[in-house]
Subunit: 393 residues, 2 copies
Amino acid sequence: MTEDLGEFYLRQLRDDCLPFWFPRSVDVEHGGFLHCFDRDGSLVDTDKSVWAQGRMSWMLLVLYLELEQRPEWLEWAESGLRFLEEKCIDPSDGRMWFHVARDGTPIRKRRYAYSESFASIAFAAHAAATGSDRSASKARELFERFTDWNFTPGKIPPKFTDARPMVGLAPRMITLVTAQELELRLGKSDATTAWIDRCIEEIERYFVKPDRKVVMEVVEPDGSISDHFDGRTLNPGHAIEGAWFILEEARRRNDSRLTKLGCDMLDWMWERGWDQEHGGIYYFRDVHHHPVQEYWHHMKFWWPHDETLIATLMAHRLTGEDRYLVMHEKCRTWSFSRFADPEHGEWFGYLQQDGSPSSTLKGNLWKSFFHHPRALWICHCLSAAAEEERNGK
Amino acid sequence: MTEDLGEFYLRQLRDDCLPFWFPRSVDVEHGGFLHCFDRDGSLVDTDKSVWAQGRMSWMLLVLYLELEQRPEWLEWAESGLRFLEEKCIDPSDGRMWFHVARDGTPIRKRRYAYSESFASIAFAAHAAATGSDRSASKARELFERFTDWNFTPGKIPPKFTDARPMVGLAPRMITLVTAQELELRLGKSDATTAWIDRCIEEIERYFVKPDRKVVMEVVEPDGSISDHFDGRTLNPGHAIEGAWFILEEARRRNDSRLTKLGCDMLDWMWERGWDQEHGGIYYFRDVHHHPVQEYWHHMKFWWPHDETLIATLMAHRLTGEDRYLVMHEKCRTWSFSRFADPEHGEWFGYLQQDGSPSSTLKGNLWKSFFHHPRALWICHCLSAAAEEERNGK
């Protein structure tokens, strides 16, 4: 069965996902990538997400490094990197924009700074693909800027007063996975290892709550739960994504304690997030099972399902427990029968609670060529490795 | 038939809506109102919306002035006004907060300044109810601060760069209805009349598009449509609310040109917003019928339905056209069979596209004792007036 799974994911990547995005998304006029596409690939907005420029460049470079050295993949990724360098940085403070017009005219910067993390991994993958020292330095510099902005107290302009300070899971998760990517593409360094250690330690200390079997999305600075709408709001798909970042580190370090941590996070948030009635992963839940204030809490977004496909397969690979394959199949069957669009390829992004489509968009400022192809590629690799092992290779 | 409608709305207000909120929401400990309630009235968050403090005080005072002089309504409203004055203003700049803790500890201020407009109408209604000159001055002062913040170029900190400046329908609509309330409660003044004229003129010039039969939510400074996700996004319920603000002015001035303007806005946005498949008013639509980027675009929120009940009944009263009663009945039947909760009273706030509940919340930072009781009271008054006319009174 598992060999079929490896082939399934590679076929989805090669025949369903890649042809939707390329060459359609390559902006031959201004460089970088267009990505706001309707179901059939028609362009509904010419604006560009800076996240998407970094993420799409990175994904193309990973496939160039690991799947096939197709020269156009390198060329398109380099167009994305040039666009990032030339158009996506605010010269007044060195920070990256969040949203730019097609020609790079800046539209919006945000308080938070994830644009830098996605640009960093793209430059790191480019260094690995080409041996460019310049790209390696660029990757490290962007990572430093990202961690400096996110972890130096007082740097991020506050959204709220200081009456109720909160810390978030998100910056720790993204720092962890960015440092992991830098280690994979550029080699280990004391700095990246220290960030990985620190982020896992802080995630476990502040956000993972074994007594309640839950992973919090935000907590008070001492790790306690803030009993208000925002403090109680869980994001199961996000926590499950964080679980596989930790499982990946467990695999690299062959560390069974980390395997247990990642599996606990996955188990608890699957339990919290899986919709027993309609299937699929809820977007938000309340830690005390109160109603959630955020309007779209009941919707099923594409990316939590992509992350759950990875996390369950990785948990199976590390533990050998069959129940993770059962979870994987449950998520795979539900997702591919609802998000997929056999007519035009690629997944829809947004479903209602019952799995019916809410929007025909394939791309927008949030969705591009990233979560879905990443899941397809990692799930292919995990399945193929399991198969090789079974065959005694 | 219409006499029944008047009784229906009064019964809904007296027996279903008011008993849910009062005395439950009155915060005897800290003053002002609690409003984050679950279905059965259990409190799920002690935080307070500053909008809600002003809106709930205003609504109670309107009922005190127009329905019944119940001393507790005045007393509770005055508790809300004291909380607004003592706890909801930032002494550093005189602007109001958006979100405070139960005891008034400030949690969040926003770029925009609607807190001031709702406080202004509450003080104006208090002046009308008690003859307080102090409250009348307070109302005028808050209105001046509100218009100064919203209409003085450069005052509101930008959310985006200045590459793509946009102007919004919302500040013009809220200025219009706030000035109307001030005229009703404090008497006309050159200032309020000038603001009413200016807002109607700008709404018509920039946002109302007869060639496309649409009311835009945001436009470029010259009134042209920005062909990006944000620029194309329509909010039919909001435009229908704006339509009845204009119809109300048409009634006061006996101005048939304004009646036509309000009716056009209602007709076009009903056509754009009514869900032909499931019924109800969509939250967002795209002017070019492209997919909408905002996730919850397909959901049915309570307030657009309350606003549509008012707008259709007002349009019927001003034009005598039966089709507005047909629209009213369509919206009334759909809404009361889905938003209502006969077990515990008051409406649910958030439905999925098909009308099934998304959340059991009756109140949160956005929903309080405002849109629904306002619609019930105005619809009662419109129906009762029509009935009196028919009886030749």
